[in-house]
């Protein structure tokens, strides 16, 4: 998914939007190019065929999809659930599970079409139309492009993989206002937020015509993709997007009763640890799957996801040892998640060595936000969705501009405007600026959409349960159950 590209927009390509991503499918592409079909393609339209599908890719992408779903249920649910008080445990599990179910149905209904088509819409660079709503036109014979010329996936595979991303992103948000939100408004928010924030941003960052088609349709792409913003596996689309929405949500909803006066220690850190571990495992599907092929670049994304995370987990434990004299498990798993978030946009671009640095830096920055900034600014981001996902995502997204630098072992970017993709020339300062612009665009877009939605819900059906309900716990009051009857 989501490699940037250079676009010669007519003759003089203007602005900072001239950069782009991943280098080296050139090799494979070269093979494909040897086929006369590919060379003759520009005049006669290119038609991918079933032979361009490799079962190894299909096997890997199906597994990767299952891994990403694993990240939501049970991993994220447990990670979050363990951090709340026992009386709200089930509410968190239920919110995550229901969001996953609803997001899958919305994705099927109009999400895929809005994110990954560019027809039937007034603003094809912002979001797609409804031509593939309810998966119209998708069947076992249709194909989806990868990042290599002449390599395709069954379209269902691509729909599934992307569906798992649409499921986890809104689920990430709930951590910011856990323990104090009503269930039904939250589900309504999910549907609207997916429609007005997630699908457009996914479209802007990830949509493009594909390597065999782009040179014939050089403007058929999302806005940020066109700028050349690099986001390998969703640093902007998933983490900044969700992290900002969470911050807005916790500000609109307000802090928990007793926040900063009562102790609210995590009720079960074992669940949090299980969750973090399974997040790590699942994230291999998230990141290494985002290359869409079972090849050496997937392996690069995989090893970066491994070592950046290890560095981030260790870094948080070390800083705690220094500051508090005791390294805590919650600290280590917070570092693990911060590292995973930060490496997400960079996974396919970095060298393992720079990935380690990126992970460690992100971990320390998140530590600072979670322990110091939050305390200073007194917002109640219950489970640090902003402090870890938005902050870690921003560090990662901007850091991607650095670590992609081929001079430091990075993979640079690929120029897909040629019939056969080839490596582009890397401009460090320019790339970093593009990354910052992409981050800014995402923050503004999701910030506005989230604020409008949360405020609208707050002043209509209400977002927050009554004081009594909050004190009793959402499990009993909202769901009529308790988690433990030991």
């Amino acid at each position: 998914m989501n490699f940037a590209n250079k676009i010669a927009a007519g003759a003089g390509a203007a602005g900072l939007a001239l950069f782009a991503a991943l280098p080296v499918w050139a090799q494979e592409a070269a093979t494909a190019a040897a086929a006369p079909a590919a060379e003759a393609a520009p005049p006669a339209p290119f038609v991918p065929t079933a032979e361009m599908v490799d079962k190894g890719d299909v096997a890997w992408m199906l597994v990767a999809s299952a891994l990403v779903l694993l990240m939501s249920v049970p991993a994220l649910a447990l990670f979050y659930g363990g951090l709340v008080r026992a009386k709200n445990m089930l509410s968190v599990l239920m919110q995550v599970l229901t969001i996953v179910c609803v997001a899958a149905l919305v994705w099927f209904s109009w999400g895929y079409s809005m994110a990954f088509t560019s027809t039937g819409t007034p603003f094809p660079s912002l979001f797609g139309g409804l031509d593939k709503a309810f998966l119209a036109g998708v069947d076992p014979t249709t194909l989806a492009a990868t990042f290599s010329n002449g390599v395709y996936l069954p379209e269902y595979v691509f729909v599934i993989f992307q569906m798992t991303f649409a499921c986890i992103t809104p689920a990430l948000i709930v951590g910011a206002f856990a323990e104090r939100v009503k269930f039904t408004p939250l589900i309504i928010f999910t549907v609207l937020w997916l429609t007005f924030a997630y699908f457009p941003i996914a479209h802007m960052v990830w949509y493009w015509a594909g390597p065999d088609f782009l040179h014939a349709a050089p403007t058929d792409m999302g806005l940020l993709w066109g700028w050349g913003a690099l986001d390998f596996a969703g640093g902007t689309v998933v983490h900044i997007n969700a992290g900002i929405a969470g911050l807005v949500g916790c500000l609109v909803i307000g802090p928990r009763l007793g926040y900063n006066t009562e102790p609210m220690p995590p009720h079960n850190l074992v669940m949090t640890m299980i969750g973090a571990s399974l997040l790590w495992i699942g994230w291999f599907g998230f990141n290494a799957g985002s290359g869409l092929e079972a090849n050496a670049f997937g392996a690069l994304a995989f090893i970066n996801t491994f070592v950046a995370t290890a560095a981030a987990g260790a870094a948080w434990a070390i800083i705690e040892q220094i500051v508090h004299k005791k390294p805590s498990l919650l600290g280590a798993v917070s570092g693990v998640v911060a590292g995973l978030v930060a490496i997400t946009p960079a996974a396919g671009f970095a060298h393992p060595g720079t990935a380690i640095i990126l992970g460690a830096v992100a971990s320390l920055v998140c530590f600072f936000f979670v322990t110091t900034v939050k305390k200073k600014l007194k917002y109640d981001d219950s489970l640090d969705v902003f402090g870890i996902h938005a902050v870690g995502g921003i560090v990662g997204a901007i850091g991607t501009g650095f670590v992609a630098n081929p001079a430091w072992g990075g993979q640079g970017w690929i120029d897909y405007t040629a019939p056969v993709a080839k490596a582009g020339e890397f401009d460090l300062a320019g790339q970093v600026m593009t990354q910052i612009w992409a981050v800014g665009t995402t923050v503004v877009w999701t910030g506005i959409v989230s604020a409008v939605l949360f405020l609208a819900l707050k002043y209509t059906i209400g977002l927050r349960p009554s004081k009594d309900v909050e004190q009793e716990g959402l499990d009993l009051a909202e769901h009529g159950e308790r988690a433990y009857n030991m």
Binding site: G258, T261, E262, P263, Q471, L476, A477, G480, E481, R482
Partner: protein
């Protein structure tokens, strides 16, 4: 000496403890209990099986103090634990014959 045994709502515990500390109470013991009284529990439904849980989670405080302090402890407890709504709980006072501090062997009020 008196043993003061109070059943309160769990989320009031911190407030109560602070109020009692303000009185100069140096110690107490807390247990998670389940209460049965006028306040009824929620009806929980698990896959269609209804359980009217008469049991409500409560916290029990046990606190021994000297006789003279007891009335003020009871009063403070009542004020800090009260919300005015059903299920606020009870305070019971019992006589204690003797107290011993295990660490030092001190007895009587010196042990508290």
């Amino acid at each position: 000496m008196k043993l003061i045994l109070a059943i309160i709502k769990p989320f009031k515990l911190d407030e109560v403890r602070e109020a009692l500390t303000g009185l100069g109470i140096a110690g107490m013991t807390v247990t998670e209990v389940k209460g049965f009284g006028r306040q009824k529990g929620q009806t929980e439904i698990y896959r269609g099986a209804e359980y009217a849980t008469n049991m409500v989670p409560k916290v029990k405080i046990e606190l021994v103090c000297d006789d003279s302090l007891a009335p003020r402890v009871v009063e403070t407890l009542q004020q800090s634990a009260g919300t005015g709504s059903i299920g606020d709980g009870k305070i019971f006072v019992l006589d204690v014959g003797q107290a011993v501090r295990i660490r030092t062997g001190e007895t009587g009020e010196a042990a508290l």
